[in-house]
């Protein structure tokens, strides 16, 4: 019995040494088995509808990639799985800064994907730049994102049309399609300028849209008169007075640069309360199932610029991939994905393609690979059929189209039809019976 205690102690010590040895030795030679992708998304706060769409789409992409064996990294000579880390920016600048700092320093992500709201992304870009992390930005549309010169943006890649891109396309659509339709229907002279009003979020995004509209009118010499440009604060929910002010300027068309939680009450209040019987346009970030549901009949005949729609699939080579993505998303999460989800889904695939191309997960090598990458288009139609950042500002180039929303009495919900450009058109743009030019 005297020795029993000693034997027990020796046994415990031996076991401890063996366990410690077992647990530490392999770790010393272990190589990272994952490509860690940080997803910056607004999981809470006003933009959480969009944020969840982005996160879930990223999850879907990662699962698809991992189901196919992951990503082959040449330098390691083996396949790695994709591991996602969620960074909730809380729909605020400060939240975004906290999220990216944590992902970079604690989670040691190899690459960042996502980022919604130009104001939020702009606020955390400097942290990303200082730490030299490649960042595929899929949801912030201010052109300054990769063009700003106050920080080093060379490792940032913009996979999202800028306000310049869609502001220009939307204004061209108004000039080519809406203006002639208004003039013809109401017997106005063909040269009558269309009266356009812009109601914009007081942020880089909103100001970017306003600037693009002005620039397009001037550059292309369009017969469009900007009769009102009214700003509102981000997150605003009461637009009645602003819309009354706009109504007094008698616009033919109103172009809001707003997020989903702003656009829906704005259009509802315009039609219901203020009596603005006019055509509303919308920026692509609103192309989300919640938009169609939230607007109800007040969205009838409104127009939204898009590059991915939950309910419209443009003709062309990507139709099958769009259907597969929508069905995959629907099967896993219920409902359909929105546009920000689509670009984030692609963003994860692009990050993986960069790791394969670089043959490494080193941040600098990933960034280098991204700058010359050419990934075949997936669920969004791209110029040249590829996702590429091979231009001075590392911006991918999407093919954009316009959809008109129409009330489906059977579904009791709005559904879109593509009305522009001609090569993708499903149905021509129409002015509804209740429309009044110079509504006021």
């Amino acid at each position: 019995m005297r020795y029993t205690g000693l034997i027990l102690i020796a046994g415990v010590v031996l076991a401890a040494v063996l366990v410690a040895g077992c647990s530490t030795e392999p770790a010393a030679t272990e190589t990272p088995a994952t490509l860690t992708v940080g997803v910056v998304a607004s999981m809470t706060g006003p933009a959480s509808t969009t944020g969840k769409d982005m996160w879930q789409s990223a999850q879907l992409a990662a699962d698809e990639i991992n189901a196919k064996g992951g990503v082959f990294v040449k330098s390691l000579g083996k396949n790695m799985t994709v591991r996602l880390v969620q960074g909730d920016d809380e729909s605020t600048r400060e939240g975004g800064q906290k999220a990216v700092t944590r992902m970079i320093t604690d989670d040691r992500v190899d690459v960042l994907v996502g980022g919604f709201s130009s104001a939020v992304v702009t606020a955390h870009q400097s942290i990303v730049a200082e730490n030299g992390v490649p960042y595929i930005i899929t949801g912030a549309s201010s052109p300054t994102i990769t063009r700003r010169t106050d920080i080093n943006t060379s490792m940032m890649f913009h996979h999202c049309p800028t306000t310049d891109d869609y502001g220009e396309k939307t204004t061209l659509f108004v000039d080519e399609t809406v203006r002639p339709a208004v003039n013809e229907k109401f017997g106005f002279p063909p040269g009558r300028p269309l009266r356009l009003a812009v109601v914009y979020q007081d942020s880089p995004y909103g100001k970017g849209v306003l600037s693009a509209v002005n620039e397009t009118i001037t550059t292309h010499g369009l017969d469009i008169e900007l009769v009102a440009s009214e700003a509102f604060k981000m997150g605003e929910t009461d637009f009645r007075t602003i819309l009354t002010s706009v109504k007094a300027k008698k616009p033919d068309v109103i172009y809001p640069a707003a997020f989903l939680n702003e656009q829906v009450p704005m259009m509802t209040q315009a039609r219901r309360d203020v009596g603005l019987d006019t055509i509303f346009l919308a920026v692509e970030c609103n192309d989300d199932p919640d938009y169609y549901k939230g607007l109800g009949q007040y969205g009838d005949s409104s127009v939204i610029e898009s590059r991915f729609s939950p309910y419209a699939i443009p003709k062309g080579p990507i139709a099958a991939k769009v259907t597969a993505y929508r069905n995959g998303y629907s099967a896993r999460f219920g409902g359909f994905p929105g546009m920000m989800g689509a670009s984030t889904y692609e963003g994860v695939y692009v990050a993986v393609a960069a790791a394969e191309k670089a043959g490494s997960t080193a941040r600098a090598e990933l960034a280098s690979a991204l700058s010359t990458i050419a990934v075949p288009e997936m669920v969004e139609s791209m110029e040249g059929g590829v996702i590429s950042f091979a231009n001075p500002f590392r911006e991918s180039r999407s093919n954009l189209y316009m959809e008109q929303l129409r009330w489906d009495a059977g579904l009791q919900e709005l559904r879109p039809v593509i009305v522009w450009p001609a090569e993708l058109m499903e149905s021509p743009f129409t002015l509804p019976a209740w429309y009044r030019p110079g509504s006021g």
């Binding site: 509102f232 605003e236 007075t241 602003i242 009354t244 007094a248 829906v264 219901r272 203020v274």
Partner: protein, 293 residues
């Protein structure tokens, strides 16, 4: 800038509508402050919960959301009583900082609780009267806004009757005027605290119902801005003064609306605080501060 009478009337109406929401919120803040001498920074979250309670009941029952005020107000009253009893009472009188941090903590508790219960996504509900409008001058005012104004007036009249014509109201006013004297005359001041907090929360709940039914969206994080404005209105009208809160709320709503029209939407929040600063410089106690206190 030309302003036709129809447009002017519309602008004033939107201001009046916004003022109604602010009045209900600010009156609740003032009632709580008047009796308990504490500021509930989470008051905007009670408005948010009121909106969600109405929305939930509407989704479950399909009953006219205005009628749901009858259910929402008691739910919020009960919540207010519970918050006072469980959270404020233990720290009341200990240290003002404790009370401040407690109510700031409640903001996060309510926001996260609402997000957990109802989700982060914004919600909205449709009034059954949204297609009905009333011609006023040369514009058609949706019936909903007249109902909202009417409901606000009815709630305020009810509150005045409670405070002026009942023994309970007398006890509340006595506690508000001199807590020690009220205690010495046999009034259960802790019960008055509970009642004041409950009534304040109920008023915020009513504001939440009207917010939702007017076509504004709401999410778990929407309470902060209305709350800040309610505090500004309370300071503008005079701490503890209910007439001050009513006039301050109206003044704020109209100022916001006219500033938005004349200066632009970016000025909507700023102009109210500019006015507040001006009023405080001229009259540091607020419009009704001395009388109310």
């Amino acid at each position: 800038m030309t302003l036709d009478p129809g447009t002017l009337l519309q602008i004033l109406f939107w201001g009046l509508y916004a003022g109604c929401i602010y009045i209900l919120l600010a009156t609740g803040v003032n009632l709580i402050f008047g009796v308990m001498k504490t500021v509930n920074f989470a008051h905007g979250e009670l408005l948010m919960i009121g909106a969600y309670v109405t929305w939930s009941l509407f989704v479950l029952t399909g009953v006219n959301p205005y009628l749901l005020l009858v259910a929402t107000v008691p739910v919020l009253l009960a919540l207010g009583v519970a918050v006072e009893r469980l959270a404020f009472r233990p720290v009341l009188g200990s240290n003002k900082l404790n009370e401040i941090f407690l109510s700031i903590g409640l903001i996060y508790l309510f926001q996260n609780g609402a997000a957990l219960l109802w989700g982060d996504d914004y919600q909205s509900l449709r009034s059954p009267f949204e297609a009905i409008s009333v011609p006023i001058a040369d514009f058609r005012l949706p019936l909903d806004y007249l109902i909202i104004i009417g409901v606000t007036v009815a709630v305020l009249v009810g509150l005045q009757l409670l405070l002026r014509r009942t023994r309970l109201g007398l006890a509340l006013r006595a506690t508000s005027q001199n807590r020690k004297a009220a205690m010495l005359s046999g009034i259960d001041v802790e019960r008055m605290d509970m009642l004041a907090f409950g009534l304040g929360a109920a008023l915020a709940g009513a504001a939440g119902t009207l917010w939702a039914v007017s076509g504004q969206v709401f999410d778990p994080y929407m309470g902060s801005v209305p709350a800040i404005k309610a505090f500004a209105i309370v300071i503008l009208g005079g701490l503890g003064s209910i007439p001050g809160a009513i006039l301050g709320g109206l003044f704020y709503g109209l100022a916001e609306s006219t500033a938005t029209y004349t200066l632009g939407g970016a000025w909507k929040d700023a102009i109210s605080f500019v006015l507040l600063i001006i009023v405080l410089v001229i009259r540091p106690t607020g419009l009704f501060g001395e009388r109310g206190e």
